[in-house]
Symmetry: D2
Subunit: 138 residues, 4 copies
Amino acid sequence: MLTSTRTTRIEWCDCDPAGIIFYPRYFEIFDTSTTVLLERALGMNKIDYLKAYDFAGHPLVQSRARFRVPTRFGDEVTIETTLVDIGRSSFKIEHRLQKADTLAVEGFETRVWVIRQAGARRLKSQPIPPDVVARLKA
Amino acid sequence: MLTSTRTTRIEWCDCDPAGIIFYPRYFEIFDTSTTVLLERALGMNKIDYLKAYDFAGHPLVQSRARFRVPTRFGDEVTIETTLVDIGRSSFKIEHRLQKADTLAVEGFETRVWVIRQAGARRLKSQPIPPDVVARLKA
Amino acid sequence: MLTSTRTTRIEWCDCDPAGIIFYPRYFEIFDTSTTVLLERALGMNKIDYLKAYDFAGHPLVQSRARFRVPTRFGDEVTIETTLVDIGRSSFKIEHRLQKADTLAVEGFETRVWVIRQAGARRLKSQPIPPDVVARLKA
Amino acid sequence: MLTSTRTTRIEWCDCDPAGIIFYPRYFEIFDTSTTVLLERALGMNKIDYLKAYDFAGHPLVQSRARFRVPTRFGDEVTIETTLVDIGRSSFKIEHRLQKADTLAVEGFETRVWVIRQAGARRLKSQPIPPDVVARLKA
């Protein structure tokens, strides 16, 4: 299955008065990790793949996370991101964020492929292009 | 069951290049909503209830959300926050975020009551004080 | 001169491990305050005024702030926002953020009116429409 | 003069509906860059240097930025951070953020060394320890 790993560092700006990461920051980290997975699979940056496939993005319809061990500013973490399922217009992603050898957070996303309807603000789900499916399943 | 409702407005700073809210912002909104629920139940601000009960906060161990309808900058939203379960050292919260009459997002949290261990950076779960339990169950 | 006042509350999610607001949050607060000033002057929400005047926004070319007194989660603050100068394609805004009777932060912005060039990602400054100038000078 | 350079990437989560970075994110980037400068000069992470010198942080008293060229998600940027002045209890930092060979943003900070007053929430400025001054001037 398609997997991508990246590292980042938890920063002061990610942490709250308890001195640990403010948990919504994990969802920002996961969002970037999903972008990186797609960028690597499609061979181009997000700004370019949105244009190449003429779509508006891959927003979430569901998100879930389990927070096992808190992280703090200065912690180097590794995020392993895996495409676990792909449907007609949606796909599922799992993230495992580790601090050294400890699994700190698990994240689960269901995302949908959307286009912007002509002349409208409205976003509408759309079948994932066959070329993208092929690259994600590779 | 203990419920609290507040309103807020989705702002430009909450939105991403797709023109809709960047979904981690919902978790910030939910976090503030949980704070407001506790502030109302305990009759004091968070900065004071952390001191009064001498604890370090109520971080999440699990979080889940279903995103039904996107929101955009300028949208006025209402968040209804309910305490749905309370255990020995943890409690569960549900949020229903509405845009006019439409349920836009549902959020589900499991939080734990933690103290800071003497002289240590480490957070440790702790039984919720009986007085707090009584006020949350009221 | 055109002035607009709003109130907000500093939240846990705005604060850092020192227990005070993480200062970039002030710039988010100021950004929303500028939006509110324009919304009130133009009589419509930002999502609508961007459309009505067919422009891409009013990004900053300069920003400055003086932080006099720190704020903490739970602090109710008032932001007074004033248009202090308006040029051909740019305008200047000042913000005074108060905590009770104390001036906590002063913010200064120079913003430019921009359009998106046809078929391009590039933003370009543009004269502010006379109708907007008239309403801002009113 | 003490200088430190790091690179980062502007992400989707940093950008607003205009498709460019939401400018307060630059101040988050600068804050981390200042931390990195101090970490390198003092030879330890922020979580450790706060403890080693027993202080509460180095919050800003003034901040200023000039935004010359917008950045977008996917842009790799380099931030050069320099200590330009050091006083008794405050110091000045300059940041130059480049996108390829173009200077995109300049940032200017005045920061103050603060301790937490015994038993109080109040932060108070304090002379920078001679050992820190020596390392920053090196």
